[in-house]
């Protein structure tokens, strides 16, 4: 393989996509459906102030509890790995999101139509941070299906935000959602270049 200099010289890298949404909406299910490893769990120590975690100069004596984050891994090439991180659901752990989302390609906001209001906060977060996101409606069995336009209107989504429906348990559909957010992030990045060039 020595003659493949281009490939050999290209730096090995990793990227990540964040999976957000309300508690029990299927974030871990989606991660588990496409991950090549059983999803793993990492923990961060949380301070009294709910402002910082243990690596953000928090004094250890302030640590009172932990927040858990589940994640999965997809090896996309010999030199490229994609990680999927599920966000901690509870609102008081939001400070953790900045750490999770830093450098992310984008986010998938999983939505349960029976509890649309639970996705308002994640949507606000990604919009305010300028992180590309798509909405994926997790269609549980027996749940009535609404047209995408109705859901987009109920969520007050900006017109450009893609909205798809999926069964989070299905590997191909989960993979489709990952393709969608990556395509969208790429399009957004290229658009920003065009705007800057003019």
């Amino acid at each position: 393989m020595d003659f493949e200099t281009t490939k050999a010289q290209r730096a090995a890298a990793s990227t990540k996509i964040v999976i957000a949404g309300g508690f029990g909406v299927g974030k871990s299910t989606l991660v588990g459906a496409v991950s090549e490893i059983d999803p793993l769990r990492t923990e961060a120590l949380v301070t009294n102030e709910s402002e910082g975690v243990d690596d953000l100069a928090a004094v250890p004596t302030k640590a009172t509890t932990t927040v858990a984050m589940d994640f999965g891994r997809l090896t996309l090439a010999e030199d490229l790995v994609l990680y999927l991180f599920g966000t901690p659901g509870q609102r008081r752990f939001w400070f953790m999101w900045d750490d999770l989302c830093r450098g992310a390609i984008g986010a998938i906001v999983l939505v349960d139509v029976a509890r649309l209001d639970e996705s308002f906060s994640p949507l606000d977060y990604f919009e305010s941070k300028g992180i590309p996101f798509i909405v994926a409606v997790n269609e549980f069995d027996g749940v009535p299906r609404y047209p995408a336009e109705e859901i987009a209107a109920a969520l007050a989504l900006p017109a450009e935000v893609p909205i798809i429906s999926l069964d989070a348990r299905d590997r191909e559909q989960a993979k489709g959602a990952l393709v969608k957010i990556t395509e969208y992030a790429l399009m957004r990045l290229r658009e920003s270049l065009t705007v800057n060039a003019n």
Binding site: A11, A12, A13, S14, T15, K16, L45, A57, L80, Y83
Partner: protein
């Protein structure tokens, strides 16, 4: 409402002391370590005498991410970062590319395009 835990409270004291001890009390590292950043052992590097926790991190970190090292060693992410930061500064481990604030637009495009190609063939 539950009152905040006091340091004397047994329910969190063991974890607190354990985490505190592993890093000799340090809570920050000078190396920027994203959760998804992957690590490689430096070829030919001679390992000095390491603390058991640092040795444990060194043993599992090759070709794995910061988050995976944290999960596999069952150490909180912040503690893992401090220990990995030390190993990087000692020249035993190096960190591979991720998208950061310093990533150029061209590099960013290239990484996202590579991810998209990889996903389509996954």
């Amino acid at each position: 409402m539950t009152p905040p835990l006091e340091p004397e409270d047994e329910s969190y004291r063991p974890r607190l002391i354990r985490s505190y001890t592993l890093t000799a009390g340090r809570t920050a590292t000078s190396v920027d370590l994203a959760m998804e950043a992957t690590l490689r052992l430096q070829a030919g590097a001679e390992a000095p005498v390491l603390s058991p926790s640092a040795a444990q991190v060194l043993e599992v970190c090759d070709r794995r991410s910061v988050a995976e090292v944290s999960a596999l060693t069952k150490m909180p992410i912040g503690v893992t970062r401090v220990l990995l930061g030390d190993l990087i500064e000692q020249g035993l481990v190096r960190i591979q590319a991720t998208i950061t604030d310093k990533t150029s637009t061209d590099e960013r495009l290239e990484l996202i395009e590579r991810t998209l190609r990889g996903l389509r063939n996954y």
